[in-house]
Amino acid sequence: MGKNSLHVLKGINFSVSEGEMVSIMGSSGSGKSTLLNILGILDEADEGTYTLDGTLIKDLNEKVAARYRNKFLGFIFQSFNLINYKSALDNVAMPLYYQGVKRNIRTEKAMHYLEKVGLADWASHLPSELSGGQKQRVAIARALASDPKVLLADEPTGALDSKTSYEVMELIQGINDEGKTILIVTHEDDIAHMTKRIVNLKDGIIIDDSKVNQVRAKTEAYV
């Protein structure tokens, strides 16, 4: 934002194919969040190209960017970012509202995704009446609601204790098993090892990109 520009990313070249589950790791300041924001069309790269599902993402105006975000991407944030005056169900239904889906179909679909994350009984509750893990599961349901190609998660377990973290990761793994492409930014090693591939960033450069054996986040294993 200031006058002095700072190059955060200095030459990143990697691709993710459909169905992959990738974690992006690195210490703070390594540029992992910036990368995710560029991938999420929330931010734009100064140089280089980004192709999402065969579409070149470059110099988009806000209107088109909004449409692509709605169509291609689902976001999961560290601080959940639910709209605090809307019920869990209405939060999940929001992306569908912006797709122009009729209210009754919207509610039906949103309910389906809430059931998927196991919160059907909490549909009418406000975010303030939910625990951290429940909020994140509502956020996941919302990210899924528009049936996106890619799920982008920025420190999805950053604000949760480890037990809740594993519950959320178990849910995310389940979604990946159904074929969704998922990118997770994290700095926690155990979370990263629950994905299938780890990209390690340091000072804006990829220092390591390797496939790993996925650890299933079975909660009972850690009780």
Binding site: D43, E62, R69, F75, N81, M94, P95, Y98, R103, R142
Partner: protein, 414 residues
Amino acid sequence: MFNIERWQEIFEAIRKNKLRTFLTGLSVASGIFILVILLAIGQGMSNGVEKEFEKDATNRISVWTNVTSVEYKGLNPGRFIEMDNRDYEMAVNKNSDKLEFKSGVYSRWGQLTTYKKENGSYRVEGVRGDYQFLENATLVAGRFINQSDLNTIEKVAIIGNQVYLDLFRDKIALGEYVDIAGIKFKVVGIYSDPGGEREETRIFIPLTTAQRVYNAGDKLRSLAFTLEKQDNYEDALAASEAFSAELEADLKAKHTIAPTDERAVNVNNTLENTKKFYDLNNMIRWFFWGVGICTIIAGVVGVSNIMLIIVKERTKEIGIRKAIGAQPWSIIGMILHESIFVTAIAGFVGLIFSLFLLQIVGPFIETDYIRNPSVDFSVAITTVIILVVAGAIAGFFPAYRAANIKPIDALRDE
């Protein structure tokens, strides 16, 4: 605008943000309320002043003289100008068809007046019979001065009600003799005057008697006239102004006074004063409008302020909405739609409240200066619309800016 989904969004936002909605509404409603009450009081004051003045309105024209202030035709300034019967006759003869009531006046201040053991100091005015109507005096008892008194230089007096109370203390006064500056006068009448005590501490005697008693020859202190009634105010004012100007010019010519001398001859035109009153009335009205417009401006600033805060408060929500696919115009539309809806409803609530209050309380306000406060309905509606439009414009810019910031910046906003 008539999208049912949008309306549902807005109603939900309003329902879930009651305090915010209430504060916006309160500022708009109170602004309108104050404005309407203010305009109504202005109207009421205007009505009141009008009424107050009409009660005493006369078309009297008074003339009195003073020292000259301008050198003219070799004559020094500082000459004292005195009028006499010939000035009066000149004015009367020249305008005999226009004049309604007319009188020359010879008066003396502070004349010691005694009745038995009581005494007081009063103003004594030597006048003609018409003077009763010029003064708007009403006889309580007896009669006023008549032509025969003037012809025979009778020593009769018509005393003011206050003089009567001072000297006679409710005893019979008619037919009694009072001593004015050493000369006995027979009391033939008692009058009252709407001007009150100040106007009732006077004694009227025939003009000719006054001139004789005070050894004034045919001198006059002042002249008083009224003109024949005209059909409307404009004509009356024009006639009265023409008469005043002509009379002043004639008197100046006759007494060799510079036409530019503003001090030597004074012609006071009550109708002109009426006009001043109407002007004052207009001033009051403009003043209240000025204050009202300032109130509107304050209201607009208040609404703008609240809009800024609302947008600031919703920055994160806007970021979330954009991240899940909201387009900039749908964000702007949502904010404006909500604000217009709230301000419009609140504006009408304020309007209805104030009109209701005026309807209930208005008729009971009957003081000297405020009468029947009321407001023009179309003016009130217009102000509501102005406030709503101004609020929308004021809300647009922050909404536009918020809709165009990057979602990632909005999300970081805490």
